[in-house]
């Protein structure tokens, strides 16, 4: 049982936690090196997901635990459901009217996030997301970073200033933009814009940062900078990253989950997945024989 202690992070959510999540079943055979329950930030338990009200499942009975304070990479060929799974974690899939979690539970910090008393807005304040295509608002750099705080009703200029500076520093962008905070974010280079989006996400102090192929629109140098950044952010946040780039997964992640056709094929330490995978499909994929 996950107990709800006074310091439990979920008590920070506006929605009161009524029922502590039920005990997680033991992890499956394709998960030989399971994350102990107490270390898990996100528990994905037998999750199936459909975009068409349950007619076809794009995710099929996925179970694995994502550890706190680590970087977990989701890899697999296009259409394997890795992005869908990522978007389940902050309920971005709610935007699709006909989407539905058909079986199972996703628990974050012990709370079933699809429970009826979970407010997706409160969830998203704790589970931030960085998108594939960098998408800063056509506002100033400052306003982009301050956006999340402003919509939470924070108006105090000093507090905003401080948060903006801190977030930009954490996103390794401060030195490049500190003299032009009030100029348009769209004037930045692609890599800078993506780091700005990361700054914007971490400005609201989430516990988890989801990254959906954050480097796929960037050149190798900008990619390298984002990867450095991910390594630094890992100390403060639990990071889940979807990537097409297997080298990237080896460089940035501690754990890797390999998906194929909506199923979790293998989940293990990144070194094991790339060095000594136990499933042939994984080996074929990471060695480039298919995908």
């Amino acid at each position: 049982m996950v107990t709800t202690s006074p310091s439990d992070p979920m008590t920070e959510l506006a929605t009161p936690v009524e029922s502590p999540a039920k005990a997680s079943p033991s992890t499956k055979a394709n998960n030989p090196n399971p994350i102990a329950e107490q270390d898990a930030m996100i528990e994905i338990d037998d999750v199936s997901f459909s975009y068409d009200m349950g007619k076809t499942n794009v995710l099929k009975n996925i179970s694995f635990n994502i550890p706190a304070g680590k970087v977990t990479a989701l890899i697999g060929p296009s259409g394997c459901g890795k992005s869908t799974l990522l978007r389940c974690l902050n309920r971005m899939n709610d935007l699709v009217d006909t989407s539905k979690v058909t079986t199972g539970q996703i628990r974050i910090m012990g709370q079933d996030i699809n429970a009826h008393d979970v407010d997706p807005i409160e969830l998203r304040k704790q589970v931030g997301m960085v998108f594939q295509k960098y998408n800063p608002f056509p506002k100033s750099i400052y306003e982009n970073v301050a956006y999340g705080l402003r919509i939470q009703g924070i108006k105090n200029k000093a507090r905003l200033d401080e948060a903006v500076e801190k977030s930009l520093q954490r996103a390794a962008l401060w030195n490049e933009v500190k003299d032009r905070l009030n100029s348009s974010a769209l004037g930045l280079s692609g890599g800078q814009q993506q780091r700005l989006c990361i700054a914007r996400t971490i400005a609201v102090n989430p516990r988890i940062v989801l990254m959906d192929e954050p480097c796929s629109a960037l050149d190798p140098i900008a990619t390298a900078r984002i990867e450095e950044l991910i390594a630094e952010l890992q100390e403060e946040f639990t990071i889940v990253i979807v990537t097409h780039n297997m080298q990237q997964a080896t460089r940035v992640s501690d754990r890797t989950a390999f998906f194929y056709l909506g199923e979790l094929i293998e989940y293990d330490d990144t070194t094991t997945i790339f060095g000594n995978p136990s499933v042939t499909q994984t080996e074929d994929y990471v060695s480039g024989r298919f995908g």
Binding site: M92, L95, R124, K133, N135, R150, I151, R200
Partner: protein, 380 residues
């Protein structure tokens, strides 16, 4: 031997003839348009700017823009010279000079004075119309595009709105007449007309009366609003659709509520599109005659609308709104269809059309300017 020599000269001739034919038709349209513009300008410009007339005169005839339409009086004075005066000027003149020789006196309806009444009336109608149409239109577009579950029902609503755009304007006029002029709707009034009013509730020192609004600014403005709504809704939806999904996702992923997302990450960037479409909508409603001829417009009025409104505060506003107005398109219809074209009436006819054309073209140009301006400024 040239390997690229044309193999069929007949094919080539046919192609040339066809392209020439298409070009001819295109230039024909352009020619017609230019002819209309120049003809109107040639006749109308000297009325507005007498400096361009054969006789010469002031740069801009301010009287034409600032006076109400009146009857024009033609007469021959003691020197046998032809004179023409607006009726109010004529009365003043005869009062001041009781002995003046007036011969061959002839009156021409609607042809004297200026067009201040119709200009102001059209402006007021457009304001009432756009205020209502924008509030309702943006709300409907936001609902349809952002909130509503996309399905058969929303599809049917969209279809209904599109069909509304195809309804002939005279039908809108009759609808407006039945619904806004006759149907008992609430309005503030100081004095209750027992015959017209269905019920009256005492309020703010006057009454909230349920009565038909009659031939009024409000009825006309609302009829025009209903007519232009499909255009506004379609344009707003287009503007909303053009906002990248990334903005919405970024906003929601930061913990914004739906409304916060729409207010801060969607509507600000849709505003230019909505604005541009609205100006185009203004061009359209300003020119409509049929919807207002039963609901709002009158041919002749002595005073400007606000000079006639009674009461204070809300009652002044409702008095203004329930008064009939003059309007440019209806004025042009009146001077074109109801009076003969003579030397005396031609000035009013040509001048009105020219000024109205200028007015509409200005709106259209503003719309084009805004579109170009915002397209340059807002890129993502």
């Amino acid at each position: 031997m040239n390997p690229f020599k044309s193999s069929s000269s007949a094919q080539k001739t046919k192609d040339g003839l066809l392209s020439g034919f298409f070009a001819l038709l295109t230039y024909l349209i352009l020619g017609c348009t230019l002819f209309i513009f120049f003809d109107i300008a040639k006749k109308g410009l000297p009325v507005l700017m007498p400096v361009f007339s054969e006789k010469g005169g002031e740069v801009v005839d301010l009287d034409f823009l600032t006076r109400m339409p009146e009857t024009l009086v033609d007469y021959t004075d003691e020197n046998g010279e032809k004179q023409s005066l607006a009726s109010s000027d004529f009365i003043e003149y005869t009062k001041a000079n009781p002995d003046a020789v007036i011969e061959n006196k002839k009156t021409n309806a609607y042809s004297g004075g200026g067009i201040a009444g119709p200009l102001v009336g059209t402006a007021l109608l457009v304001i009432v119309c756009m205020v209502v149409a924008l509030i309702v239109g943006v709300a409907a577009a936001v609902y349809l595009n952002e909130y509503a579950k996309q399905g058969r029902f929303v599809g049917m609503i969209r279809l209904a709105i599109m069909n509304l755009a195809g309804v002939p304007s005279i039908v809108f006029g009759l609808f407006g007449f039945a619904f806004f002029c006759l149907f008992p709707l609430p309005i503030f009034t100081m004095i209750v007309n027992e015959e017209k009013s269905l019920a009256a509730i005492p309020m703010f020192g006057g009454y909230l009366s349920f009565q038909g609004w009659g031939n009024s600014l409000l009825a006309g403005g609302l009829t025009l609003a209903v007519m232009v709504l499909p255009v506004i809704i379609a344009a707003c939806e287009e503007s909303l659709k053009a906002i990248p999904k990334g903005f919405r996702e970024a906003s929601l992923a930061l913990g914004a509520t739906k409304w916060q997302c729409i207010r801060t990450a969607v509507l600000p960037y849709a505003t230019p599109g909505i604005l541009t479409a609205s100006v185009l909508g203004v061009t359209r409603v300003a020119g409509e005659t049929a919807p207002i001829m039963f609901t709002a417009a009158v041919a002749l009025k002595g005073k400007l609308p606000w000079q006639e409104a009674d009461g204070k505060g809300i009652f002044w506003v409702s008095d203004l709104l329930t008064d009939s107005v003059q309007a440019m398109p209806y004025h042009i219809y009146t001077v074109a269809a109801r009076i003969p074209r003579t030397d005396a009436t031609a000035a009013m006819q040509d001048g009105s059309v020219f000024v109205f054309l200028l007015m509409v073209m200005t709106f259209a140009s503003v719309s084009i300017y805004l579109r170009i301006h915002f397209r340059k400024k807002l890129k993502w």
